[in-house]
Symmetry: C2
Subunit: 207 residues, 2 copies
């Protein structure tokens, strides 16, 4: 099993996609599947599937295919998804509230344990079973929840300061929805998701 | 100027990022910038900037750098962002509502013209200056607004049907937030944004 730290985002995202597809197969009671059939059902590349999975060890049996349940478990372990990761959200605006309620962020491998905002009007609002707390309480929230991941859902101009607060509170992995590049900090991993970029990508093909 | 249709998502996303950075520079009244300085300020690669921009024509003057305003205009034209693209949203759940209110989706190159849902409890709700309409009105909404882009913000199980409805209504470009692969349809461009994949990517580095 290969455990290099320099695996690319693209390769990780493909493994996540395979896991997503395999779970759908499990729900449909499919026990075993070939790379060809997996590719056909989900519009993936069979060659890429074989290459990606071979890179992480021999998952399949030639001519027999993959055992769906076993491949799911091994991908979960490989991706670090076999346990729940506590998450905190900074920013209770539209995006922060939507993410705090997002089912995928609250099931299986992730759970939102708290949400903070520095706007007194937002503090105290309820979002499902969470109450928005003041940003000053972020350090206690991170400590109590043992949060490992922080979601930054604040406007661009507020992002650098709140980024530093998350790091100061002990968070090492940050999902940033602010459309602004954040200064790299050693040992801190930031994944920036600029939602507007996806619309801009579609606009290119409308010219 | 190169207008190949097979430019990669990654390259397009980098051009969007440069445009975002150049606009920040314009706000700070910076008139001219070198690739080195642009890279330094925004944690980009100077070599990649020069390569990307050279691929699309000669934007810069050696030793003088790029004219910020002119490069902004040319990137906007290249990316198809020099005019407003009308957008409709299908699904008025947490994500759909957040995106309909998202400032970046309602300024400059994009404007949300309508949002539909098939839940009678959501129909009639107000989201800023929009009223949620029933899904049955999607064809009229697309026609009236001349919408070019559809945002699919429905649960995975409802995605295929709503995808077909968007295409039947005349939409050719779709931003899909449902975590499910959609069947390819000729001439229809789909960009799937699986938010959970970004968290899973961070989880990998927490193992």
């Amino acid at each position: 099993m290969h455990h290099s730290e320099d695996i690319s985002s693209l390769a990780l995202n493909r493994l996540s996609t395979y896991l997503r597809c395999l779970r759908l197969l499990q729900e449909s009671n499919v026990k075993r599947i070939s790379s060809q059939e997996l590719a056909r059902r989900f519009h993936l590349s069979a060659a890429q599937i074989r290459k990606d999975l071979a890179y992480f060890g021999e998952f399949g049996i030639r001519g027999v295919g993959y055992d769906v349940a076993s491949l799911c478990r091994r991908l979960e372990a490989l991706l670090g998804l076999e346990r729940e990761h506590p998450v905190v959200v900074v920013g209770a605006g539209n995006i922060g509230r939507a993410l705090a309620r997002f089912p995928g962020f609250n099931s299986g491998s992730f759970r939102i344990h708290g949400i903070v905002d520095n706007d007194p009007q937002k503090v105290g609002q309820r979002i499902n079973d969470l109450e928005v707390r003041p940003s000053s309480e972020l350090p206690q929230l991170v400590q109590q929840s043992q949060a490992e991941i922080g979601i930054l859902a604040v406007p661009a101009e507020a992002a650098p300061e709140n980024y530093r607060c998350l790091v100061a509170a002990g968070i090492r992995s940050i999902l940033n929805f602010a459309p602004v590049p954040l200064d790299p900090i050693p040992d801190i991993r930031v994944k920036t998701v600029d939602l507007l970029i996806f619309l801009e990508e579609l606009a290119y093909f409308l010219r």
